[in-house]
């Protein structure tokens, strides 16, 4: 039959869609179970603190350095454009608003996904491959409560702090280039920034974004690790999937959140 190859292709397409929906449902059930069994992670807070160390403290250098450079580039590019309209005094506004509203949460989230998310997936996946997870189940220790939940909460705590540090270091970078290097007036730089950036509209919404990204990235990371095929290849695939899926999730969620936050009352 000539139709056979088309049919098998359609079947494969259908299988992809079905398995995606199946995994989404499994991941959601996993998240609910994780939230219900977070008691241990919060009671023995040491476990979570150790994960904040791995996910947050060890990501500090990359976050601070990237933030500094992003802010410096923003100031250089922004100055080039703004001076054409004689508005180079507004450089502070441009740097601060783009960092606090968008770049801070999004770039910090992408860096967090590739720096900490991939490590979480690889660690949990490897624990599964070396049968440490099964050993825990044998000892009647719930691996989700003991291994997954502390990593999840550690990531959720770290992400907003990292995003805030990214924005702060970016604004400092913008100040270095804009004021110290190019010579925009320091008073205008800070005062225009303070007049334009609103604490509730801009900064709080940026923090909400970073919390949402933190939950999304860490959820994807722990789920991919827990769901990984327990072989070397399976763990490597799961790690790749974590980075790809969480990057896409951050960008898609960012669009949705921006549409919700900044189109309503701002005109």
């Amino acid at each position: 039959m000539a139709l056979a190859p088309i049919r098998s292709r359609l079947e494969r397409l259908g299988a992809t869609v079905t398995s995606f929906v199946w995994r989404l449902g499994y991941a959601s059930r996993f998240l609910v179970y994780l939230a219900l069994h977070s008691g241990t992670a919060l009671r023995r807070f040491r476990l979570t603190i150790a994960q904040v160390y791995f996910a947050g403290v060890l990501s500090l250098v990359i976050i601070l350095v990237s933030g500094l450079f992003v802010g410096m580039v923003l100031a250089l590019q922004g100055y080039e454009t703004l001076q054409r309209f004689g508005a180079s005094e507004s450089l502070g506004v441009l740097v601060a608003l783009s960092l606090v509203r968008e770049l801070g949460p999004v770039v910090a989230g992408l860096l967090f996904a590739s720096r900490a998310g991939s490590a979480i997936t690889a660690e949990i996946g490897l624990m599964k491959a070396t049968e440490q997870i099964s050993a825990m189940e044998m000892m009647a220790v719930d691996p989700i409560a003991r291994v997954v939940a502390p990593r999840f909460w550690g990531g959720v705590i770290s992400m907003p702090l990292l995003a805030a540090l990214f924005s702060a270091s970016g604004i400092f970078g913008g100040y270095l280039v804009g004021v110290q290097l190019i010579g925009v007036d320091a008073g205008a730089f800070w005062s225009q920034m303070q007049a334009a950036v609103d604490v509730r509209e801009d900064i709080l919404n940026g923090v909400i974004k970073s919390v949402v990204f933190g939950v999304a990235v860490t959820w994807i990371a722990v789920f991919e690790g827990y769901d990984a095929v327990p072989t070397a290849e399976g763990v490597s695939r799961a790690t790749t999937r974590t980075v790809v899926t969480s990057s896409l999730a951050i960008l898609a969620l960012d669009f949705v959140l921006t549409a919700l936050m900044f189109t309503g009352g701002n005109h």
Partner: protein, 157 residues
């Protein structure tokens, strides 16, 4: 690295993150200008508010004395009712004039208060009687053209 070192670093990290948030709120944002001072509200009716926005500044002699709290439309007089929140440390006479002005040519619009000579001061809930609406560029241009056309006719008589 032992446990207490991890605790120390996590403590440093959390403190630095909170300091970053505080920096954003105080140095970058306008929390410092968001005074928790006592305020009082007055209302003013305008025939046209132009591009005035909620949270826009209320200035007197160039000094910011308050913010625009609310803009509503009055269904009976077909005018805009603007609520102004003014810091209690600034007192204005009852016959103060409120004008909608523009900072610069293309700048944001704000409300300018010009003090009158009345001895009684404004208090919470008062309404400003004397207002001047925003200048709408189209009206201004059509008025100008109309005047020009009228001028052109007279010498021909």
């Amino acid at each position: 690295m032992n446990r207490s070192m991890i605790d120390l670093w996590v403590g440093v990290f959390v403190a630095a993150g909170l300091a970053g948030l505080l920096f954003l709120a105080l140095k970058v944002g306008n929390l410092a200008t968001f005074s928790t001072n006592q305020t009082y509200q007055v209302e003013a009716k305008f025939a046209n508010i132009g591009g005035l926005k909620v949270r826009g500044p209320v200035k007197s002699a160039g000094v910011v004395v308050g913010r625009v709290a609310d803009v509503r439309f009055d269904n009976e007089s077909y005018e805009a009712i603007v609520s102004l929140t003014i810091d209690t440390s600034y007192r204005f006479p009852r016959d103060t004039t409120a004008k909608i002005l523009t900072s610069g040519i293309l700048g944001e619009q704000y409300i300018g208060l010009e003090a009158g000579g009345d001895g009684v001061m404004l208090k919470q809930g008062d309404r400003l009687r004397l207002t001047q609406s925003a200048v709408v560029l189209e009206n201004l241009i059509s008025q100008f053209l109309f005047n020009k056309a009228a001028e052109g006719k007279e010498p021909a008589k």
